[in-house]
Every structure is written in structure tokens, then in C-alpha cells.
Subunit: 356 residues, 2 copies
């Protein structure tokens, strides 16, 4: 059987977790999962270690985060940290990683995993990854679909088709984030899964699909291969990366491919998308407060509180608030509007405020 | 004309301004007045300086706060800071100060002023004080009544009687804090004033009234005088003070006196009783936010924000909140419930938390 590789996409800027997250310390470098003091990135690596040795784990991140990422994952060979000079969505990221893997191992099978998800059931998760790798080993493009537990409008969906012998299904189609009514129809129908953003394929399979659907990207990756043979890849990446098409691997390749397979899974998955999700996942007191700080709550309920050690947070008579304190910035926002923190970060960035 | 003395009552513990106020740094030692970086106590002293020289300004505070109070008012003679071993409400405080003044100046006229009020119109205030001192010089017990601007249920009231030649009125009666309906009747009637807690009397007049209505206190004050003559007052105060009757000067003496005069006043008075009042007095932006910190407000209105220098506070989608941040404690409470912060302080005290 061919060797397995992991490619962890860790380039996110994570403004939705401000003020805990900052440009230089985004979501994936923070310990945001409940009851886990490891960063999301480290937890991601440790979760897959039973399946893939560190020498075959790659991380793609931004140049700005490369040092912090390498430091966080010091067990990885330094050359396994691929630093994008500029973010161009996921197709160039996946393509560059696939080219890197194929050069090393023409038959290599890779799984592509986001760095910032929370997994409640790591064993179930690994079982799904193994199934995905197995299906991909035969040449297929494979994705993971999460069994939905609510009519979520924040995710894309996959419509599931017939089951193959292996228990893996054909994906009938990709569906954009639906409105509430459609999301409820999807949930009722039972054959729609959340698109998790995890993928499995042989490196040569996805490069073939990129060749077919994103020829411009394929051409650039070919140049990267040639430069790599001369030991000049870094220079070429630095000058060419910004010209690559900024498109997602879903949109640019997977949705256009003749056939995509889907492994249905259910392993306590969450994309940890905002403080709202952090509250949902956290342990809560009898008044539904998630108090991740020393706190006094008087007639307060449904709140999420985070603060540095030694800081006392007193909530009196408030409901459903997110209160996140850090040494130089404090956020107060209703739990259901936590995503709007992006407006704050945008304003700070526009003003050149270093606390963005 | 007899000499004037000022007695500033500065023994409050000010839990309603937690977490800015602490046991060791209560309300009167904080710069809570809008646009004024002086502590309320210092502002009080400086406001009356045109009327009374520092040698004749006394401050009564608690033993725990004596050093901090003397340091805050370093221009006062150290012996003018009277330190109560234990708080026994205002009658012992006023009585002890009156005994101290009478020993020094048998004909002295004193004004008694709280240390923690805000005065919007200091000139108008001094005009009222002068009128009060003048009326008191003739032997009367005099108080100041504030012309009410709203049906406030948090203050006691004075019913005003006939005007004397001097423009000063007789006080018909003292009224306890009313309910809303009565407060509205008082406002409509037009002859009710807020009891400001400021008093004027000759030292010997108030001591005579204490003799008549609080004979136990009068006896103790007589012993203080005798001990003072022997240079042993401090020792006696330390051992006897806790036994003095814990009663207010209003309740224990003024309400029972045959005649009390009242000087009506209107000089932008506020008792700065809570964060709610602090918001009312503060400058506000177009969304009614009082931002006494570096802040980003996105769809936020009616909020009061205070934080240390260098701290950024982001409010998103919240209304009418008080957010007070300090290095070791943070408070979030709806503006109209700000008084309930006392519950937090009570809980911290019960737990022996030094942040109380």
C-alpha cells in the first residue's frame, strides 16, 4: 500500500476570535478547544499521529506565521512547513502541497485537513480518515461529509448518492451555504451532509484534476517542480505565488470533477467558527454560563467569559453575552452576534492599530 | 463674625463603584467626576478653599483610610485628619468633630460636607455655603435642600416652610426616601427639596442638640474633652468609639430638633451614587455612550466604559451596559442595575477575596 501524507492547512487569520486571536497569533495557534490546553494546530497534529509519522506531515501557512507555526510544531522537519508568500485561497495551497508530495513520492496518498477544527471523538475521526485514505488510494477524489445535527446555514452541504461496496458513497453534488428553509429541508431529507473541508486523494490524482480544471495553476505548479529540481523553488514561489488564481479547491476542482466520493462521518466535529461555537462546546454551569476565567456571576446566564489568570470578571444581571478579556483588549458582544467582531478588527486594521 | 470651619465626612467605603473603588481606595479617593482628574475628596477641599483656610478644614475618615486621606490632602495639618477606629454612622462623626472645633474655638461655626458629591456649579455652591454659615452663626441648625429635577426615590426629602427675612426657610419636616408615587407628588407640590446631607451650625449649638437628643453620645464627647485636656484623647477614642450609638445626625438630632432652617440650592448637585450616575454626568457620544477609555463601539448605545490606559474596549451590539475594567477585576452590568454591584463586593468580602 502507498504511503500516506497529511497536509494541514494552517494559514487562517481567524479574526472571529479577536481579541484572543491576533494577526500574529491566529485561531489555530490558540487553545480554543474546551478542556484542552493545546493549540488547535497541535491538537490536529497529535490526533493524526497514530496514522502518519511526523516526517510525512506537512503544514501550509502564511509567511508571516511560518516561524510561529514551526515553533509550535517543532517535531516536524522544518522543510515540511510550506510558507505561502500570500494567501490565495485553498486551491494553490493544496496544489503546491500535492506537487511537493508527488516529487517525494509519486504514489503518495494525501489527506488535507484544516488546522482549526474541534473533534470530539478522535477515534471515530481516525476511522473515517483511514477509510478516506483507502478510497483515495485507488485514485478517487474523496471528501468527508458530516452528518448534520441541526439546520445549519453556515456550512456548505454535500448531497450523498449511492453507496459503493466499500461503504463509501458517491457525492451527487456540492451545495452552497443554504438559507434556513433549505437547511431544514436538507436535514429532513437525510441525504445531505456538511462539507467538512477535509479531502483525500493521491497527489497525482488531484494534480491531474487541477490540470483539467485549473490549467493556469497546473502550469505554475509545473514551473515549481522544475525550479525545485534546480534548488530554486523558494525564489520562484516568492515571485509567482501572488499570480496564482485565488480559488477554493472545492469550487475550482472538486465540484467540477467527474466523480467525487464521500465518507460520511460523525465524530463530534465543529469548525469552532466563533465565540458562539466556543460557548456551545464549553462546559457550562447551571445557568448556562461558560466561565473560562475566575468569575462572579450574579443573576447572569448564557454567558461566555474568558480572561487572563488573576483577573476577576463580575457579571451582574446580564444574559447571553460574550466577554473576552486580554491584557490589552476587551470584547463585549451578545453571544448570537459574536461573528460581528470582524467589524472591530476591520476598523482596527484600517487605523493601523497593532491590537488588530 | 465668628470663624468658619469645614468638616468633611470621608469615611465611606463606596462599594457601589467597584471595581474602581476598593476597601483601600474608596469612592472619595477616586477621580469619578466627569472631566476632572482630581479625587472627589480633593475636589471637595479645593471647592471650599475660597471660604475656609486649610488650617480650619477637618476631615473625618476611618483609621484604615487615615494615611491615604492625609496623603491625598497633604496641605492640611495632620492633626486635622480625625480617624474613627470604627464607623458609627454620622452622629458620632459630627459630634466628635464639633467637640474638636469647640475646644479650639468656642464660637466656631462649622459646615459639614460629604466628601463624595459632585458639584456642577461651584460658585453657586459657595454662595449657598455662605448663606448657610451666616444663618448658623446666629445659633440655628441649618441644612441645604436641593431643588429636585426628577421624582428621585433614592434620596430623603425636606418639606420647606415659611421664608425668613434672610431668604432662608424653616424646614417643616424631614421625609424618608419616598416611593415613586410620593416622589412624583413631592415634585409636583414644589415645596419639597432633596436632603443633601450638608449641615451648618455653631459647634456649641450642635453639641447642645446632641446633649438634648443623644445624651449617651454627649457624655462620651464630654469624656473626650477631658481626655484631650490631659493629652490622652487618642487612647480614649480607640477604646470608647465602638460603644457610641450608630445613628445618623439626621435621624438622631436634626429631625428631633425644635427648629431646623433650610437653604434651598441648585448648583448641579449629584451624590454620584453609582455607575448609573457617573454615566448621567459624563460627556456622551452621539449614541449616548460615555467612553472613558479607548473604545470601539459598533452598534452600541447608552453604555458607560472605563478602562486603564492602553486598554482597548470593543463593544458590539450592546445597549445600556456598564463596563468597568481595572487591572485585576472587570465588571459588566446593565446601567440601570449598577447598584447591584454591591452583591459582588459582598460575596468577595465573604470569601476573603482581596479584590473586594
Amino acid at each position: 500500500m502507498a504511503n500516506s501524507y497529511a497536509v494541514i492547512m494552517a494559514g487562517g487569520s481567524g479574526t472571529r476570535f479577536w481579541p484572543a486571536s491576533r494577526r500574529a497569533r491566529p485561531k489555530q495557534l490558540l487553545p480554543l478547544a474546551p478542556g484542552d490546553d493545546r493549540s488547535l494546530l497541535r491538537a490536529t497534529v497529535e490526533r493524526i499521529r497514530p496514522l502518519v509519522p511526523v516526517e510525512r506531515i506537512y503544514v501550509v501557512t502564511s509567511a508571516a506565521l511560518a516561524e510561529a507555526t514551526a515553533a509550535e510544531l517543532s517535531e516536524l522537519p522544518r522543510e515540511n512547513v510550506l510558507a505561502e508568500p500570500v494567501g490565495r485561497n485553498t486551491a494553490p495551497c493544496v496544489g503546491w502541497a500535492a506537487a511537493t508530495v508527488r516529487r517525494r513520492d509519486p504514489e503518495g496518498v494525501m489527506m488535507v485537513l484544516p488546522a482549526d477544527h474541534h473533534i470530539g471523538d478522535p477515534e471515530g475521526y481516525r476511522a473515517v480518515l483511514e477509510k478516506g485514505l483507502e478510497a483515495a488510494g485507488e485514485g478517487a477524489l474523496v471528501t468527508v461529509g458530516i452528518e448534520p445535527t441541526r439546520p445549519e446555514t453556515g456550512y456548505g452541504y454535500l448531497e450523498v448518492g449511492e453507496a459503493l461496496e466499500s461503504g463509501v458513497h458517491r457525492a451527487r453534488r456540492f451545495v452552497e451555504k443554504p438559507n434556513r428553509q433549505r437547511a431544514e429541508q436538507f436535514l429532513a431529507a437525510g441525504d445531505f451532509l456538511w462539507n467538512s473541508g477535509m479531502f483525500f486523494f493521491r497527489a497525482d490524482s488531484i494534480l491531474g484534476a487541477i490540470d483539467a480544471h485549473l490549467p493556469g495553476l497546473a502550469a505554475a505548479l509545473g514551473e515549481f517542480d522544475e525550479a525545485a529540481a534546480r534548488g530554486e523553488e523558494a525564489t520562484l514561489v516568492a515571485s509567482r505565488y501572488a499570480e496564482l488564481p485565488a480559488v477554493s479547491i472545492d469550487h475550482g476542482v472538486m465540484e467540477k470533477a467527474d466523480e467525487v466520493l464521500v465518507v460520511p462521518g460523525s465524530f463530534g466535529w465543529s469548525d469552532l467558527g466563533s465565540w458562539t461555537t466556543a460557548w456551545e462546546l464549553a462546559d457550562k454551569d447551571e445557568d448556562d454560563n461558560a466561565l473560562l476565567a475566575e468569575a462572579v456571576a450574579v443573576d447572569a446566564s448564557g454567558c461566555y467569559v474568558s480572561a487572563p489568570e488573576g483577573k476577576l470578571v463580575a457579571l451582574v444581571g446580564v444574559q447571553d453575552l460574550v466577554v473576552v478579556d486580554t491584557p490589552d483588549a476587551l470584547l463585549v458582544v451578545p453571544r448570537e452576534r459574536a461573528q460581528e467582531v470582524r467589524a472591530v478588527v476591520a476598523r482596527l486594521k484600517a487605523e493601523g492599530d497593532e491590537r488588530a
